[in-house]
Symmetry: C2
Subunit: 210 residues, 2 copies
Amino acid sequence: MPDNAGTSIPDIVIGRLPLYLRALRRLRQEDKQVTSSHELGQRLDISSAQIRKDLSHFGGFGKQGTGYQIDFLIEKLQVVLKINQEWMVVVIGAGNLGSAISHYRGFQDRGFRIAHLFDVNPAVIGQRIGDFVVRPISAMSETIRAENIKIAMLAVPAEHAQSVADQLVEAGVEAILNYAPININVPAKVQIQYIDPVTHLQRMTYYLDG
Amino acid sequence: MPDNAGTSIPDIVIGRLPLYLRALRRLRQEDKQVTSSHELGQRLDISSAQIRKDLSHFGGFGKQGTGYQIDFLIEKLQVVLKINQEWMVVVIGAGNLGSAISHYRGFQDRGFRIAHLFDVNPAVIGQRIGDFVVRPISAMSETIRAENIKIAMLAVPAEHAQSVADQLVEAGVEAILNYAPININVPAKVQIQYIDPVTHLQRMTYYLDG
């Protein structure tokens, strides 16, 4: 759970903004210039009233009856989410998952750039994976401090996730996206989000006929 | 959003059950036999009252003052989530991401088994990836029907995600885990969940000092 102190906007609202942004970028790709909360809502399966209410926290960004200027709304949401700058990110773990993350082309034009890929395995260190040469995890903390990196993606085995996260926090990382299938504990000031496909699958099977 | 009609239990509660299950399995790995809502809550950063309330939807599973028998609670949650059986899953897209998914060892003992890996690219079809030989997407629908497969993981480029999802639904798939960074529309009876690391990163940068 993100530490929500100091802001009056519910975290669940913040969590929807990246979805709005993604849909808006898609509309722009389709050469559209104006959209509505109705159109956005249909694409996202979110009610238009919810979308208007969410955006009203930040001033609304649209005029009654004329819809939203897509470029304008994209720009505003990028400012709200602080991705009108590029954030450096480190990836820890150069196995299949870390390798797939490192090859993924979808970070850069959405606010993030992978700066380094670290692993503990001597057989992998020094190998080229995509655009990166895998660096030793022993150099991780110093690199993060020296380059003032605030964000890490954690793709290590579950049994190492907590200790690596502790090192990341100690080195100054303030946001961790954890792919290891285990909950990790971080100080309240550190943001943490999880990606575990199995939890999503299990959430869906509840609704299926067994 | 999962279609919640026909059940009185909020989807957000269902969404937390896989997290409880994951934490319980971890406790069992640590050779613990009994836990408490307090201990679970600390590990998950969820209040113990919330955990007790969530579990009370299903009967509670614990006695006042004695905590939860871990094995018993695991078994009960698996029944609730319908993963006391093994679900066959297909993976569509054999690029870096589909390849990483296919190599991932964490599905099988949590209720899921990848049955097939499909791709559209002739250069990839027939190649071995992990335990799989990549099959042509032209065989996808027939295979899904013949084997009565209900779950798919979608790891294709964004521009193909909707059309592949339409084919999956037409073939009988009832739950899709979509890794493509785009919202897709499915009938209300079909479950859909998303994995898009960038939306998680953007949700966190909101809280960072820009």
